[in-house]
Amino acid sequence: MRYAMAVDTKKCVGCSDCVVACQTENNVPIGFCRDWVVEVTDGTYPILELELRSERCNHCDNSPCVRCCPTGASHYEKGGVVIVTHNKCIGCGACIASCPYDARYAHPDGYVDKCTFCLHRLEKGLLPACVATCPTKCMYFGDLDDPKSPVSVVLKNRKHKTLIPEAGTKPQLYFLI
C-alpha cells in the first residue's frame, strides 16, 4: 500500500479551507499550520497565468526527515505515511532543517509537528480532513497500489508534476497541471 495525494491546480481557488479544516481537525494551534496555499503568477498583463497549490508534507518515499531523526520519532507508518511520535521527539529541529518543502514546524508544546495525511481518519475509513472539506474537490487521495483508487486514476489520466524532484526525496504529493 502506498498512500498519495494529487491536487488539481486547475480547480483549486486558493481559499485555504484545507488549512483551517486541518487546524480544527488536528487541534493545530492558531499561528501554525500543517498545510498552506501557494500562489504563483507568471507573465505580464494581460497575458497571465496563475497557479494555486495546496501544499503539505510530501510523505516522501526517501524522506530526509526520517533519516536524520536522532530518536526515531520520525518514521514511516503503514502506506508510507511519515509520522512524528510526539513523545519520542526531543524537538532538536534537524528534520525541519532537512525538509526541502518546509513542511514541519516546532509545536509550542516542544515537539515537531506536521501533516499525517490524517492517519487517524484513514484508519476509520475517512478521507483526510482537507480532502473531505475542499469545496472545489480539487484533492484526490488513495492508494497508488490500487489502480482504481481516485489518485491512481487521476494520475493516469492527467499531466502532473511534483515539487523539487531534484531533491531526490520521491515525494508522494502530486500536482495536476
Binding site: 483551517v20 480544527t24 494581460p46
Partner: protein, 742 residues
C-alpha cells in the same frame, strides 16, 4: 443632544468592564438535547446552519470530550454545501471563541461630562428600549421605527416591528448589493434570481462571469459547481479588469476597461442578433419586444465597443459565438454585488436580455426553476394594519424598489428642508452599518439625529460604538433560529440548534424580541413559551419534528412536479405585463426609464488617481470575520493591488505601507500594504473589503489594513430602485503619514 452620540470605543469602559463573565441565564431551554442521541463517532454532534455569510450552509458541530466545540463540517444532505463548508464555515468556531465578543448589555451614559457605556442587566436594558420605543411610537408613529438586519435574528425583530405596525425591515443586501439584479430580472422575466442563485452551473457548457469573482467570493454551492463545470470542460469567459482567480480558470479573459461593461453586453447582443445566433424558437415563443431590441442594438458593433471597452472586436465576436455554441446550456451570470455605477439596473437588464436571446432561462445548464417549502406561521393575532409604510415615506422615489431601500431610510432619518426626519429609531441586527453603507459621513449624520439606536451583535463592531443600547447576541453556535428554507433544485429545510450554552451574558435574538414585545404590551404576538415550542409546532406542520431535525439537520423532499426546466414546447406564462419575457421592458417604460438598455460613459479617474475596485477574499465575509481568530490567522490585513508600471512611477515597492486618499480628499485612517502585481489594470487598484477597523476593542483587526468604505464618499444612485453604485471613486497614494490619525 447634538454631540450626544460621540463614538465610544467599547474598550473605554470602567473597571471590570466587559471582562466579567456572568453565568448563562437559567431559563436556557437547551436541556432537551439527549446526549445519547447525539453520539457519532465517539463525539457529540449537533446540527447548525452557518451564519458567517448569507449562503447559510448546513453543517454539524462536533464537540470534544471536554464539551468544547471541536470542529464544524458540512451536512451532506444540504444542497448549499453538499457536505463541504467553505473556510469561513469551517473557521466558524472562531466566532464562538473570540474573546473580544460583546459580553453583557450596555447602556450609554454620561459620567463627568464624558460619554461611556455602563453595564446593565437584561431587564434594565430591555426596559430602557421598550420605554424609548413606546415614546417614539407615541410621538412620531410606528412608521418612524426602522430595522436594519443582515442576520438570522432579524426575523424576530421584524416580527416585533410588525406587531406595532412598522414594515421598514431593511436589509443592506438589497440596495447595497443585489437589488439592481433582482429589479432587472423581475422586469424581464417576472421573477427574481433568488438566493442561492437559480443558476445551473453544474450542467452548463459556458459560464460568463462579468466582474463576478467566484472562488474569491466563496458562494459555496456556486464555487463547487464551477469546479464541476471545469471538470466537464465547460468554457468559462471572465470579464474583469483584474486577473481574478476565476479569470485564471477561464478560456477567455476579457480585461475590460472598468465601467464599460454595458458597451460589451450591447456588442454581444449585436453579434448574436446580427449573425442570427439567438435561439429563434425560444425567442419567438417566449419573448416580446424583439424587433425593437434588434433595431436598438444595430449600431452597437464590436468595432464601436472596441473604442470603449478596449476589448478587440474579434474577441467580442469569438466569445459571443462561444456562448451561442453552448446555448441553451449557457449562463451569463447575473452577479450578486452589482451596485457599481448607478445604471446598474440597465446593465443587469442587458444581462437578462442576453440570457433570453440565448434561451438559457428555464433550461438545463442555464437557469433552473427553484423550489422551496413554506414554513407556516406560528398562530398569532393579526398584525395591525400598516398605516404608513416605507413605500409611503419614500414617495415616488425609486419606483422599481420592491424592498426597503436602506440608503433611503438613512436619508429619511436626517432632518431636511422638507421637514423633520421621518425615522426616529433604528434597531440594527447583524450588520455593521457604518462600514456597510457608502458615504460614512451621511450615515453618521443620520445616527446623530436619531432618538434611539439599538444595536444587537455578537462583536463590538463599529456600529455598536454609536448605539444608545448594545445587546450582546450569542453566536449561531449557541442558539436556535428560524428554520432555514431556501429555494433550490429540490425543496429542503435545515435546523440550527445550540451546540453549547451561550458564553458570557449573551442571549439569542428570539428571546430579546419576545421580551421586548412583552415589555411593550405586545406579548400576544409572540404566543409561544420558548423557541423549542415555536420550532416544534412549525416542524410538525412540515411533516417533521424538532427531535427528528436535531438528529438529521436537513430534510429534503422531492419536487411536486418534474419541472426543474421548461418542458419542450411548454407554454409558460411569465409574471410580466405582457406575460412574456420582456426584452423591451414595459415596467421601466411605465416608470419613466429607458425600456432598452443603453451605454452611459462614466467619469474616469483624474491624473494620478486610480479607480477603486474592491472585492472579497475567500476566508472573510465583510467586516464580520476580520477579528475571528481562525480566519484572521489565514488573512489578517488587506493590501492594495497596484500594477507594476504604476508602482514604478510612484516608487512603491512590495510590502511597503502607504495611505490612500480619495477624490474628495478623504485620507484613510490606517495604512495599507502595497501589493505590486500584474494581476490588476494600470488604471485601477484593488483591495479586499472588510478591513481597516477603527474599533479598538476588536483587538486582532484594529488598524489592520484600510477600509474601502471610508474611500467611497461618492455614491452613484440608481434612480430606478435606489441602488448605491460604489465604483465611481478614485484613490491616490500618500507615502508619508500625511496627517493620518494613526
Amino acid at each position: 443632544m447634538s454631540n450626544r452620540r460621540d463614538f465610544i470605543r467599547i474598550s473605554a469602559l470602567g473597571a471590570g468592564g466587559l471582562a466579567v463573565g456572568i453565568p448563562a441565564f437559567k431559563s436556557w431551554a437547551g436541556g432537551l438535547i439527549d446526549p445519547e442521541r447525539m453520539v457519532y463517532d465517539g463525539m457529540r454532534r449537533t446540527p447548525t446552519y452557518c451564519e458567517i455569510c448569507f449562503w447559510k450552509c448546513a453543517g454539524w458541530v462536533y464537540k470534544n470530550d471536554q464539551g468544547d466545540i471541536w470542529k464544524i463540517t458540512g451536512n451532506t444532505e444540504d444542497q448549499h454545501s453538499n457536505g463541504r463548508l467553505c473556510p469561513r464555515g469551517t473557521g466558524g468556531v472562531g466566532m464562538y471563541t473570540d474573546e473580544n465578543r460583546l459580553k453583557t448589555p450596555l447602556i450609554r451614559t454620561t459620567i463627568g461630562g464624558k460619554q461611556t457605556y455602563r453595564e446593565a442587566s437584561w431587564d434594565e436594558a430591555l426596559d430602557y428600549i421598550a420605554s424609548k420605543l413606546k415614546g417614539v411610537i407615541a410621538a412620531s408613529g410606528p412608521e418612524s421605527v426602522a430595522l436594519f438586519s443582515h442576520g438570522s435574528g432579524g426575523k424576530y425583530f421584524g416580527s416585533l416591528l410588525k406587531s406595532f405596525g412598522s414594515n421598514t425591515n431593511a436589509a443592506p443586501s438589497y440596495a447595497q448589493c443585489k437589488g439592481p439584479r433582482e429589479a432587472a430580472f423581475l422586469a424581464t422575466f417576472g421573477e427574481v434570481v433568488e438566493s442561492p442563485e437559480r443558476i445551473d452551473i453544474r450542467d452548463t457548457r459556458c459560464l460568463v462571469l462579468i466582474g463576478s469573482h467566484l472562488g474569491e467570493n466563496m458562494h459555496n454551492g456556486q464555487v463547487q459547481e464551477m469546479s464541476d463545470a471545469i471538470d466537464k470542460g465547460a468554457t468559462i469567459i471572465t470579464v474583469d479588469p483584474r486577473f481574478s482567480t476565476a479569470a485564471s480558470k477561464s478560456k477567455f479573459w476579457l480585461p475590460i476597461k472598468p465601467s464599460t461593461d454595458l458597451a460589451l453586453l450591447l456588442a454581444w447582443m449585436n453579434v448574436i442578433m446580427g449573425e442570427g445566433l439567438y435561439d429563434k424558437a425560444y425567442v419567438e415563443k417566449y419573448t416580446s419586444g424583439f424587433d425593437k431590441l434588434q433595431a436598438h442594438v444595430k449600431p452597437f458593433t464590436p468595432e464601436w465597443a472596441y473604442g470603449i471597452t478596449t476589448i478587440a472586436p474579434e474577441m467580442i465576436r469569438e466569445t459571443a459565438r462561444a456562448m451561442a455554441h453552448a446555448a441553451p446550456a449557457v449562463i451569463v451570470h447575473p452577479g450578486r454585488h452589482v451596485t457599481w455605477y448607478g445604471d446598474d439596473v440597465q446593465r443587469l437588464r442587458a444581462v437578462a436580455i442576453l440570457n433570453a436571446l440565448l434561451g438559457s432561462w428555464g433550461r438545463r445548464g442555464g437557469f433552473y426553476r427553484p423550489e422551496s417549502i413554506t414554513v407556516p406561521e406560528f398562530p398569532h393575532p393579526h398584525y395591525p394594519a400598516v398605516k404608513k409604510g416605507w413605500r409611503d415615506l419614500l414617495g415616488d422615489k425609486y419606483p422599481l424598489a420592491d424592498q426597503p431601500v436602506a440608503n433611503a431610510i438613512v436619508d429619511l432619518s436626517r432632518p431636511s428642508e422638507a421637514g423633520p426626519a421621518k425615522y426616529k429609531a433604528w434597531i440594527v441586527n447583524g450588520t455593521n452599518l457604518v462600514e456597510t453603507m457608502p458615504n460614512q459621513a451621511n450615515t453618521l449624520e443620520a445616527i446623530k439625529a436619531l432618538d434611539l439606536l439599538v444595536v444587537i451583535d455578537t462583536m463590538p463592531m463599529e456600529i455598536t460604538g454609536y448605539a444608545d443600547v448594545v445587546l450582546p447576541e450569542c453566536t449561531y453556535l449557541e442558539r436556535y433560529d428560524d428554520i432555514r428554507v431556501s429555494p433550490h433544485r429540490k425543496p429542503h429545510f435545515a435546523l440550527r440548534m445550540p451546540a453549547v450554552k451561550p458564553k458570557y451574558n449573551s442571549k439569542p435574538a428570539w428571546w430579546m424580541a419576545k421580551q421586548l414585545a412583552e415589555k411593550m404590551g405586545l406579548g400576544a404576538f409572540f404566543p409561544w413559551k420558548d423557541i423549542e415550542e415555536y420550532l416544534g409546532w412549525q416542524l410538525k406542520q412540515m411533516g417533521s419534528s424538532l427531535e427528528e431535525m436535531q438528529r438529521i439537520g436537513v430534510k429534503t423532499s422531492e419536487r411536486p412536479a418534474d419541472d426543474l426546466y421548461f418542458a419542450p414546447d411548454e407554454d409558460v406564462e411569465f409574471s410580466t405585463n405582457s406575460k412574456k419575457i420582456e426584452l423591451y421592458s414595459s415596467d421601466l417604460e411605465g416608470a419613466g426609464f429607458a425600456a432598452l438598455p443603453f451605454y452611459t460613459p462614466h467619469e474616469e479617474p483624474p491624473a494620478g488617481f486610480y479607480r477603486l475596485i474592491y472585492g472579497r477574499a475567500p476566508m472573510h465575509t465583510f467586516t464580520r470575520t476580520s477579528n475571528n481568530p481562525n480566519l484572521a490567522d489565514l488573512m489578517d490585513e488587506n493590501s492594495v493591488w497596484i500594477h507594476p508600471k504604476v508602482a514604478k512611477e510612484w516608487a512603491l515597492t512590495n510590502e511597503q505601507y502607504i495611505y490612500l486618499k480619495n477624490q474628495d480628499g478623504v485620507l484613510s485612517d490606517f495604512r495599507i500594504k502595497v501589493r505590486v502585481t500584474e494581476r490588476i489594470r494600470w488604471d485601477s487598484v484593488f483591495m479586499v473589503h472588510g478591513f481597516g477597523h477603527n474599533q479598538k476593542k476588536l483587538e486582532r483587526c484594529f488598524g489592520r489594513g484600510a477600509s474601502d468604505t471610508q474611500m467611497i464618499t461618492k455614491v452613484l444612485v440608481d434612480p430606478s430602485m435606489g441602488g448605491t453604485g460604489m465604483r465611481g471613486n478614485f484613490v491616490t497614494f500618500v507615502t508619508d503619514n500625511g496627517g493620518a490619525k494613526s
